[in-house]
Symmetry: D2
Subunit: 403 residues, 4 copies
């Protein structure tokens, strides 16, 4: 964004949509994108609009996306396409350096965006905030090297575990930025909103942990369920595995079948247990079995719990209702209504419900999210909105894509 | 649309995104989304909310969706969720009368919308424009009965064929509103934009005809391809068949297989031939073979044509480039790049490209759309935007959902 | 089955493949199928073969398929195509009476089979055994009316519950053949082989109960797991829902998503509890949550159990190994290897394994089957093989179809 | 099987199905299948088993599968599981040397087979025939080095093109066994059956060429269609791309979308044109556009042709009927019936039909196969059956797996 952007205009025009801005900057820049539409140029409104946009551009937050060639990076780009205040000024992707986003992700070809550069060549001078979508293990050092003034939402697992020893145990690597770890705030928005608003570095939660902690933390805090024998049978779409070329994730190996994986050993376990233990003020060990589903997006956690003595299913329902009725993105469905993953596809919602088990004293809790949105890039944007002082739903008002 | 929508007002308020308005009204009401949903029905918040809505309603175009319980109706609702000027004040669905949209389409559960009513019970007094998503054959009479002041976009096939005899031949029914037929404008936006802007009744194109006419009409008009032996091998996702319960469209009958259907007999044939014949000023008969794909959304037309004498593939490319470089939603890809249906999923784009055939003098044209968006509800919204005087991309800036 | 099927004959001719028989009978019959291939007729081998076949035809078991127009009926037909001793002489389908199987199931078009008739018009005089693939609730009366000499494998739920009150409670219907109920043997082959061999009427198990009881019954009998708090998270392909046209099972409603259904209320619950309670000699109540998967075939049960005091995971493994090492169709995988549903697609195998849970004292048991084969028609054939005195794997030697 | 089934009987009739033999040997061995699997490697049972196998081996054709770790290799193994005369005695896979087939393809875990070895370490002394499932470009040299007495069916493209220059042009490699090329017989079974029966080296056709040539060759030979402007719009499942790990074939990149690829440049073009030109006695150039479908198996070719003057659609139908009515695996459907890929899934059938186009004088031809069966391993087995003097359908009597 050019430096000519200034403040007062936003009172008047702050509602202009981003794409209008894009067009303008493109025209002022290299003009390389097809997207400078003649219709924009020729309509009488355009000139007025252009002026407004020029001013508007000064006001946007300049965002960098580190690791833009993976699915979570691309999802950030998709979500920001309609964000009124965030504009992407930097994208990195080491192996795709020099390429346009459209050549790597053709579904984003209609956007005017800077080409990708290697992270080592990135210029952060015109960046206010970054989404860090890099692989686990590589992120700590890169974030350590970023300018201190940047707001950072890290989508990797590198800063999620407060206990550095636990990180080293589960990831088999020494932690390379223990001092930053102390600063990092865990980005489960609805639970830690206050801390996130004031954070500089947010460790964005994993997809499984998001779908599991959102229903369980309020119930554990209120002592409505027992902290023992929490059994989580989780199901995830394949996009959670990323875009790396692996035989096991070929279409032919995934379609029309399912399987469990990482039984008892999935790296999201310590993150889940950390969050639940915090809520319980005691060490919780969970049973966690993820399953890979023949679908690209979507995640369901089916959670089997023991209710505390004297507690019934209505108590659980009411408590969750109270906990989340003011939330935009976490929704407790009407009694008896079953959440489906397809009803949140592409959206930032978490839908949940609770059910009486056949076995007396037990309950079944179901929560669904889109693993790439509320489970990754959507919650990351929700967090950056908060960190930058915007309403947390800004640019996140997507309805689910169904069918 | 109320007459208060004009220059001055829209300068002040026209840019408010819908959800901001909703959030505002919420704040004046109970301060949370859930209560909006409840309040639509019966809660004490309703009065407050009604006032807020009343105000808001003045500023927005009040839209009715007739036939909201089908896929194209639901897609209208999805798209309008982020439209800054259009608000839904009426939804009809005869068999679901009395139900909320969330009970019929749970992916829309987070929206605050009026319950559905039977079309015969619909009150059009607070409606400025309607999307008519009713089945073929039933639509003519219903539209005939609507208040004359309404702007109408009809997504059925009932007004697409200018020649009433042709309608009766292909649909096996007498045309019930021949006088309206004369008034109806065919809504292929990029081709008939001028007429659409001034229309009261727009016959929104079919999905196949949209994907086929967009690349062919400019080439035929310019005499770059022969009007004879145009061979169209089209592929569609299953959502084009609607939500009716049919054995042939069960998951088990569709997944992991494909087949041709309606060979030489598909009802989109006369619509395609009408458009191409208009462009050619001569009667064109096409070969058209649709195929049902194991996917929910998406459509590709692979079109095999003879180039006119002396014409080469670069001529085709350049001509399409000129024709569409100013368009936002129709994009000619870079030379050699193949369009994929997945790159337009959920978006209003049509991507296309042309390729030299191995047989000298022949070319292969490929265009892809999302059958429910540019092939139905998206183009319908594009058209209503035009009819109401807004930029045609208003509320349509969705990027494709991938993966 | 005719009495001429015995040792000596099978020594001479038992190896002739079924399709040879089919061809011959077709030729002697109406000759209507394309499948009387000229090559068969013209090769010198044919005459010899025909003579052998003529004899063979007399010896085969003449099988009726009641309800041949559903998925389990079609699967019976598919499996019998290569059975050396069973030939189909009767197929019923009330709503498809008069049609050929190929017109209802085009994937079976290459078989020469009798046309379907209404069950009321069925002639059982040339039938030795029937597979009854009719809907729950209608089956009791039909089976009551069958000739007493017939061997019957009933794939419906109508005879699975010994306790008639339980049937009436879960199915909401009075039991119409209580005297037959006493005679019916539950057809879980590996568990009740002896009884099945001597049965006239076998109640073939449901798909979920098969996948659940096979691993659990040996462990419960041996007191290796606790009978309390058995939590079953089960996942099924859509074919289990049958071929009825329902909106909820349309491709567009199922693809790329998943959901739980029938929570605590699925009709397979009493069948599961009956089998486990028998094994335990005490009343067992299970937690059972089925999930509908975006796939046509396949079923996995992920079962969370408490091990008995002093028992460890190796004890479970060894016991299952002993229980099933002599079985052809039930396979305990090597330690640590995870069963996938895709590895049994189209086959009669049940693959299983056991895993140590993170929570001390708990275990995770996984079993997978093809719901239409081992979960329905395959096990039915396995049972009829036993009932007719053949090796139970006859005609069931299909490897899984992968990918 | 009755106890009277022993060596002598099988000597007489040779028709014992493979699994019966396996069961017998099992009984003589340890009495259970698991031990067979183990024993192949090293258990004490091996000696006993070896004796049984040794006997059995005398009676069967000893088959080697070169390249057993790919999809076509695995499909050979699946099909041979029920073959009465062919037994696998050698499997090679360079990168998986030392592994069992079950560890590479768990769906084949129930078979008792030799471990895989590197092709350079293969012992061909106990092999009578090989299926060569190696990559294009590597096969010529390997086949050149095989013992001369072996019968060979090569599933690669390395010997399909008679014109060595054409091979070098399309594959960019010098042909490394031009002398063998002269000997190689093209294995389109129904067209070249006589030559195949006497061949030592058969070049098994590609999947696209099989689906295209089967309907076109008879029509071209009979001069019923014009040799010019043959337009082929072909659709394939993803398994045709093999098991190599590529980003483009990840589940997330393929599901719920389709695209054309290799437009005008697919390597099957010269093979198709070679076959059609042979039939026409003139050089034919086709338009060929393959499309990648979101499904694992299945292939459809939709072929648009001009009928010769005076020819009508019934002429085409009758001629194809005559051409194929004696064939077991090629089926012309009843008039008007549309072939579906799902109706041949897992089977060796090719279903086809012809349709009158809307454009006078034109016809639409549709043929479907399973690309891994009739398009690869099934036809290879059909060919080896012929080469070894068995009925060509031996072991190939699989019905399609549907749903």
């Amino acid at each position: 964004m050019s430096s000519t952007i200034g403040g007062s205009v936003s009172v008047e025009f702050g509602c202009l949509r981003k794409y209008e801005v894009r067009r303008l900057s493109t025209r002022q820049g290299s003009g390389r994108m097809l997207s400078i539409r003649a219709s924009v140029a020729s309509s009488p409104d355009t000139l007025e609009l252009s002026k407004a946009n020029a001013k508007q551009a000064e006001k946007t937050v300049r965002v960098g996306v580190l690791g833009a060639s993976g699915y979570t990076g691309a999802e950030i780009v998709r979500l920001l396409a309609n964000h009124p205040h965030f504009g992407i000024t930097l994208m990195t992707a080491d192996r795709k350096a020099g390429q346009s986003i459209g050549s790597v992700f053709p579904h984003l070809i209609t956007q005017a965006l800077p080409n990708m550069v290697a992270v080592k060549d990135a210029d952060f001078s015109n960046v206010d905030a970054v989404f860090c979508c890099l692989p686990h293990g590589t992120t700590q050092e890169i974030i350590k090297g970023l300018p201190k003034g940047l707001k950072i939402v890290d989508l990797s697992a590198d800063f999620r575990l407060r206990d550095i020893n636990e990180y080293e145990e589960w990831y088999g690597l020494p932690h390379k930025a223990p001092e930053l770890q102390k600063e990092a705030v865990y980005g489960l928005t609805e639970v830690l909103r206050g801390e996130i608003q004031n954070a500089r570095l947010v460790a964005n939660p994993g997809c499984y942990p998001t779908s599991i902690q959102l229903p369980l933390i309020p119930l554990i805090k209120a002592h409505l369920i027992e902290p023992r024998n929490i059994i989580i049978d989780a199901k995830s779409g394949v996009s959670g595995a990323g875009r790396g070329a692996k035989e096991a994730h070929l279409y032919t190996e995934i379609a029309e079948g399912l399987h469990s994986y990482g039984i008892t050993k999935h790296r999201h376990v310590p993150e889940i247990e950390q969050g639940l233990s915090d809520a319980s003020n005691s060490k919780i060990t969970v049973s966690f079995t993820p399953h890979l589903m023949p679908m690209s997006r979507g995640m369901q956690s089916t959670i089997y719990v023991e209710m505390a003595p004297g507690v019934n299913i209505d108590d659980l329902y009411e408590h969750l209702n109270n906990a989340y009725q003011a939330e935009e993105f976490v929704r407790l469905l009407e009694k008896g209504v079953v959440p489906h993953t397809r009803h949140v596809r592409g959206s930032n919602y978490c839908l949940m419900n609770v059910f009486q088990d056949r076995i007396p004293g037990r309950a079944i809790i179901i929560s669904v999210i889109d693993n790439l949105v509320k489970g990754a890039s959507g919650q990351a944007l929700q967090n950056l909105n908060l960190m930058m002082g915007f309403p947390e739903d800004t640019g996140l008002q997507y309805q689910a894509l169904f069918p």
